[in-house]
């Protein structure tokens, strides 16, 4: 063993992020002290980021199977059968910590990482969605972060050539010290050609492909497994630097080499780089690996084994090829002007052996590396919650002018148009995007078939904060409902769990409850969770973010031509409101934007009603009855109607009458699950009524499109009468006005 690196002690292990108990376990399992390189392997692979130490016991509760599931969690990404021999591969991942330290590169490499997760499976990425959370826009630091993150996403995605088609951006003070950058990617592959991250077949060659290795990003995984103090910027060297051009070459080369059948397995060198791949790939296959580190292409001199193993340089993959087909692999990568260097072999015996110039620098059982300790730490309900929930928003004064209140809500940055960001993203490359960003779900056709995919992400931190279980369940329902509003049937879920430190019982309680909520909702809607990501430690100086599970849903439209968007298409269409009457101002956007309060109870959620509403919306869209369908979410039915008026190419007015409730603001802006606004051509109203009767859901006609004003009555009383153009201007400038 090499003597060039420091001798490993308990103190060094603690510095590397391991606990004393974990270090003891390593000592007893190895029967000796680890080498410095081995300590590096453990510190990375046993980090929260790689090993899900605190979350695994909870994640096991999620439903992961279903009739369409081709690949569940545990691989680079999940895969779902969509028919016609095609599979959709998708996953969402966070890049929160790096994006706070260096927003442009942090966000860019977040995009790069998730793209690689998709194309390592053999799928061509066809869509990116970004779910972003920031502090409020009155802070100049937030403006810098928004600018940096959006331009980083734009730079990487556009250069690579994958369209950005959706996602959301929301603002709350709790994200000021810890913005969230969650990126979801969706790809297509022939269902029988999915490639997995395995190292089968002892004797098979192991290739290092892609970019050279440098010293960037070392300890990225451990950095993402700790909270920030006031000096987060000092960690900038742990952020990687992206090269979307090389990634594009890597995509084409990987897909080409996979078509030859010479590839046994492929894994992205993401978090913990080479260390992670050389341990996880053989661990999945019950094999081992023997690699020579001096053969790893390096862009710096004098790199130590520790650095080579732990570098998180971007745009690199570890490829296991079929023995005897090495030349094909080399030839294809050479054609794309990329490195493809054979660095070792798959072995029997279940050990990872890393050498430097022949000398062994690490020799560890791969199972020991891949199976980090699991913890079930204590959970406690947040003590302030009972008080917050007990608050009754109806004790607050009502607005004097509901029209002004509506204009204010449409102009609040969370609800307002995000065109400022989306116009910086290529939305169409690949010519699949048949519904562009700006509707409830984006829709991408599947060329050569009649089908299309609908994709949406959703997550409301305020709802989850007040009621983690129901808030998370509502996020699943809303993302699925968004997909249904396009006409598609939801098929699968990916989740990105963004929370504070799991070592705090209150945070772990939020997490555990949120997982339970997601699990309940997914079971009720028969949606498998096929992959995802947990991002803990989103807190700075003790201030945690709002607990924010982001739910990505992928659905299938059997007939791409029967699809719906959220905006009104013409005058004289009847407008219906589907779903239950029960709404609440608790945790609502209205309560925050107008009264700066995060309190109250959420409206109740009935999974059976949710399921029926979703089914009814799909049935109506696929019967060709629907001219617009829009989910009611932040801002309630008044905002949903206003959005349907102003988000299309031409502004369209509408007159609607809502049922009287306790208060007018509750009727207008109250939020509740399972509600959808639908427009139907008057001539087909009867047909629609018949379909709704069969659906056995609560619903009613509430109005008609037309004119240039949005007029809303609550009972007999006219409460809103505003120019739709004025609403449109408020919506367009609410976010952009801060950024320009």
């Amino acid at each position: 063993m090499t003597g060039a690196e420091p001798k490993v002690t308990l103190d060094l292990a603690l510095d590397a992020g391991l606990t004393a108990e974990e270090y003891d376990r390593i000592l007893s399992q190895l029967g000796r002290e680890p080498t410095y390189a081995e300590l590096g392997l453990f510190s990375a692979l046993w980090s929260e980021h790689c090993a899900y130490k605190h979350s695994r016991v909870f994640l096991a509760r999620l439903p992961q199977r279903g009739p369409h599931v081709l690949q569940g969690p545990g691989e680079n990404a999940g895969a779902i059968d969509i028919g016609d021999g095609w599979a959709v591969v998708f996953k969402i991942e966070s890049h929160n910590h790096p994006s706070f330290i260096e927003p442009f590169q942090g966000a860019a490499t977040g995009v790069g990482g998730i793209l690689r997760d998709i194309f390592t499976m053999g799928a061509r990425p066809i869509a990116i969605l970004d779910s972003l959370r920031f502090g409020e826009l009155d802070n100049p630091k937030t403006l810098r972060l928004v600018n940096g993150v959006v331009s980083g996403i734009s730079w990487y995605g556009n250069c690579f050539g994958c369209p950005t088609v959706g996602g959301e951006i929301a603002f709350a003070p709790e994200y000021a010290g810890n913005p969230l950058v969650n990126v979801m990617c969706v790809g297509l592959v022939r269902a029988d050609q999915i490639v997995r991250a395995r190292a089968d077949g002892p004797g098979n060659p192991v290739f290092y492909v892609g970019n050279k290795t440098g010293r960037d990003g070392i300890h990225g995984a451990t950095m993402a497994s700790a909270t920030f103090d006031g000096h987060a910027e000092e960690r900038r060297p742990t952020v990687q630097v992206g090269d979307p051009f090389t990634e594009k070459l890597l995509l084409e080369a990987c897909l080409e080499v996979m078509r030859t059948g010479a590839v046994v397995g492929l894994q992205d060198m993401g978090a913990a780089g080479l260390a992670c791949c050389t341990a996880e790939m053989p661990a999945r296959s019950g094999t081992g690996m023997d690699v020579e580190l001096s053969r790893v292409p390096q862009r710096e001199t004098g790199m130590t084994p520790y650095e080579i193993l732990l570098s998180e340089s971007q745009e690199r993959m570890l490829l296991v090829a079929a023995r005897g087909r090495e030349e094909e692999v080399r030839r294809i990568f050479a054609r794309w002007e990329l490195e493809a260097v054979e660095i070792g072999r798959v072995t029997e015996g279940g050990e990872l052996t890393a050498r430097l110039n022949g000398e062994v620098v690490a020799r560890v059982p791969v199972d020991l590396l891949a199976e980090a300790p699991k913890y079930r730490k204590p959970t406690t309900e947040l003590s302030e919650l009972a008080e917050r929930r007990a608050f009754d928003p109806l004790t607050l004064p009502e607005p004097r002018d509901y029209g002004d209140a509506l204009i204010g809500l449409l102009g609040s940055p969370t609800i307002a148009s995000k065109e400022w960001a989306f116009r910086q993203y290529d939305q169409q490359v690949g010519i699949n995007t048949v519904i562009l960003p700006g509707s409830d779900a984006a829709v991408l056709r599947v060329k050569g078939t009649r089908r299309a995919l609908a994709v949406s992400t959703d997550g409301n931190g305020r709802h989850v904060f007040l009621d983690p279980r129901q808030g998370a369940a509502m996020a699943v329902c809303e993302a699925a409902r968004n997909v249904c509003c396009s006409g598609a049937e939801p098929r699968g879920v990916t989740d990105c769990m963004n929370f504070g430190s799991p070592e705090r019982p209150e945070i772990l309680w939020q997490f555990s409850e949120a997982i339970e909520g997601i699990s309940l909702a997914c079971r009720a809607l028969e949606l498998p969770v096929v992959g995802g990501n947990v991002s803990f430690y989103n807190e700075t100086s003790g201030q945690a973010i709002l607990p924010t599970p982001i739910i990505g849903v992928v659905g299938v439209l059997d007939d791409a031509s029967l699809r719906a968007t959220q905006w009104f298409k013409g005058p004289g269409h009847r407008v219906a409101l589907l779903g239950p009457a029960s709404v609440s101002l608790g945790g609502s956007e209205y309560l925050w934007a107008r009264h700066r309060r995060l309190a109250g109870r959420l409206a109740s959620l009935d999974f059976e009603v949710e399921r029926r509403v979703q089914r009814a919306v799909r049935a109506a869209v696929s019967a060709g009855l629907v001219t617009a369908a829009h989910d009611c979410s932040e801002g309630g039915v008044a905002v949903a109607l206003a959005e349907s008026c102003v988000t299309g190419r031409a502004v369209m007015g509408c007159e609607a009458t809502l049922v009287t409730t306790d208060r007018t603001d509750l009727a207008l802006f109250g939020e509740g699950p399972s509600r959808v606004v639908i427009a139907v051509e008057a001539a087909r109203a009867r047909e629609f009524e018949g379909l709704m009767a069969e659906s056995a859901i609560p619903w009613r006609w509430i109005g008609t499109t037309g004119g240039e004003r949005l007029v809303i009555r609550v009972g007999p009383q006219m409460v809103v009468d505003v120019d739709a153009g004025q609403l449109g201007r408020a919506w367009r400038s609410g976010f952009e006005g801060h950024m320009a």
Binding site: S151, S154, W155, N158, C159, F160, G161, D243, P244, F245, T246, K248, L249, W336, E337, F422, R423, Q424, Y425, D426, Q427, Q428, V429, G430, I431, T433, V434, L436, R445, K447, A560, S561
Partner: protein, 237 residues
């Protein structure tokens, strides 16, 4: 009509053009690798969008000096047709096959949006099926699409009627508000004096099917195909 779609490392509109030519127009088409020096029997070569060679140095600068672009000079000399869109336009300018340069958008941001183009020159194989003054709708998607040329070049472009498309409002007015990237004189596309090499920033391949929201791009391809119709029926306006 036999089409070739050039693939540089970093090109991404290649598949889209290939799809439109083969699946929408039902014309023969093949990919042309950037190292090829022989363009053979092709009638029209398309330089698609993307970030060729990562757009390192300047957009299109490296591609403009690549083997296939050298072959393109002979091809153009023989009267072959070349359509460069987005990065393809940048490459044609860098190669000197078209005058002027494309610089960073005035807003200093990438722009992906729908634009209106007023057709100024219908005496090219790419536009002869269109009317002068006709307004087309096509998306743009670029960070470096601000066209610039010196005064002398601009005068020559105007005098020889080489400006083919200009960014305009929906009713065809050339205004500052309708200029998405700060291009000189709202220039969106130009042609060589022979009319055989067209460069444009917008993406006709993204506007060639109803499913994608419009078919104005298809009019350009139909114009091209029309040039091959011997009795010229398509050419009558």
């Amino acid at each position: 009509m036999r089409f070739g779609v050039v693939v540089f490392p970093g090109t991404w509109s290649d598949c889209d053009f290939h799809y439109v030519v083969s699946e929408v127009l039902h014309q023969p088409v093949r990919y042309v690798w950037h190292r090829e020096r022989e363009l053979g029997q092709l009638d029209c070569v398309i330089l698609p969008g993307g970030f060729s060679y990562g757009d390192y140095l300047r957009a299109g600068a490296v591609a403009g000096r690549s083997p296939v672009v050298e072959a393109l000079r002979d091809f153009v000399g023989r009267g072959g047709l070349v359509l460069g869109s987005c990065n393809g336009f940048q490459i044609l300018c860098e190669a000197g096959l078209l005058p002027g340069v494309l610089t960073r958008n005035e807003c200093l941001q990438y722009r992906c949006q729908s634009t209106h183009l007023v057709v100024e020159n219908v005496d090219t194989p790419f536009t002869r099926g269109l009317r002068a003054g006709q307004v087309l709708t096509m998306p743009i998607s670029h960070g470096e699409g601000k066209y610039y040329a010196d005064a002398e070049t601009l005068a020559r472009l105007k005098q020889q009627n080489l400006i083919v498309f200009r960014y305009a409002s929906a009713d065809g007015k050339v205004t500052k508000a309708s200029n998405p990237n700060g291009s000189l004189d709202n220039i969106a596309g130009i042609v060589n004096p022979e009319g055989t090499v067209l460069g444009m920033m917008p993406h006709p391949e993204r506007a060639s099917e109803t499913a994608m929201g419009g078919t104005d791009g298809l009019l350009m391809f139909q114009s091209l195909l029309g040039t091959l119709v011997e009795d010229g029926t398509f050419l009558k306006r």
